[in-house]
Symmetry: C2
Subunit: 215 residues, 2 copies
DNA sequence: AGATTAGTGACAGCCACTGACAGTTGACGA
DNA sequence: TCGTCAACTGTCAGTGGCTGTCACTAATCT
């Protein structure tokens, strides 16, 4: 985050070079992952395409998985900020809902600064359809949920470890969000428009689904 | 499932031998995982302790992770059966809740038939606290949720792909269940009693947490 | 008993990842 | 402008999970 802003204005030749190789590694990796599949892409292959050694790849990214989630975590951070920014008078679920809506409307340019949006969309779908990555994605999601629960608890002036409601509300909300992502991943229409619409639709069904009778 | 019943009555020498090595591999693996940690245990080590080749380990278990989830998936299957067995008049959330309660009350002996319960408890806590395993656990959980959603949909005479409510209800429920498991994993008290009580407590908070104001 | 077949071990190899060491090249003060 | 320092990188060797192959042993079948 901060380092990207710092690197945006040309600091030094060294910095710029570093940023270039990192960007190249990222873009080439995602491109290879999405075209030929995650498992069928080796780290050697990525490194070779960028003309660096495999060792260098691992100096920029902690693991092969790590590359796949670079952009995703930017988006997540943005969503978390959005939750923090919601006015205090909104009740928890409303705040969460408005935060998602706002986040989906504004991530566009943030993503584009690093990789083409369309590449990110394909990446997301690849994550959803690659077991090993899906697993990591889910774990990361619960970590995010933890952070969100903390924010919600603070908004309401509660202790997260005392009152279960923040965590539970976020867990339920998170469950629905993951369902949304999954359904979107299975679709052909991979536009921001589509995911926004699907999000709204799923959230509309949350409360009725938990009600007693479904008549 | 079926193969275990079949193997219970001594079929042939071959079968019995197979079952013995499989059981040994399972038990030794879990024991090593829980005492010295998952990452710090190598497959070679497990194989050596059971006096088979590493290759043989992989003939019984698809992966190192696979061993860790053997018992867990038995429990999950049992829960799924419990959901199927709930009387039709119960509404979705009630049926799910009763199914969990019943499952936690009856898994005991089923587990004990394979490994000591206490070993399974430690295994579960290890899964929760090992990032790589937690990730896989979460993915497996969503697969289970899929199956449950299908059952719920059928109970209510709905099409899972048509009406979103089954999936959403299960997603929310699943979110809460995972929260339960996690909280339990962080506790010292690793008894079946404790997890049952925690389950009830979390589920009691589900509906109030989704309500408008938390006053 | 002999033919068949399942189960196994030994070995070779792929790939993700790590540590150690040495070479290169920007940064920066003299 | 020129070294010197520190950062960045490549090479190499090694570990651990996992797979394919092949020959060998032993349980099962006829």
């Amino acid at each position: 985050m901060a380092e990207q802003l710092a690197a945006a204005r040309a600091t030094g030749l060294r910095e710029r070079k570093k940023r270039r190789t990192r960007d190249s590694l990222l873009r080439v990796a995602l491109e290879l992952f999405t075209t030929q599949g995650y498992e069928r892409t080796t780290v050697d292959e990525i490194a070779e395409a960028v003309e660096v050694s495999q060792r260098t790849f691992f100096r920029y990214f902690a693991s092969k998985e790590d590359v796949a989630f670079t952009v995703v975590s930017m988006v997540e951070a943005r969503f978390l900020d959005a939750v923090r920014a919601r006015p205090a008078h909104e009740n928890p679920l409303t705040a969460l809902r408005n935060a998602v809506t706002w986040a989906w409307e504004s991530v566009g340019e943030a993503i584009e600064a690093v990789v083409p949006i369309e590449l990110h969309m394909r990446t997301y779908q690849m994550i959803e359809s690659t077991p090993a990555l899906l697993a990591v994605h889910l774990r990361r999601s619960t970590e995010l949920e933890d952070a969100i629960a903390a924010v919600i608890a603070e908004r309401e002036g509660l202790d997260v470890d005392e009152d279960l409601r923040p965590r539970i509300a976020v867990a339920a909300f998170g469950g629905v969000m993951r369902l949304t992502g999954r359904m979107w991943g299975q679709r052909e229409d991979a536009s921001l428009e589509a995911i926004r619409e699907m999000t709204a639709r799923c959230l509309d069904h949350l409360e009725p689904a938990l009600g007693g009778d479904w008549t």
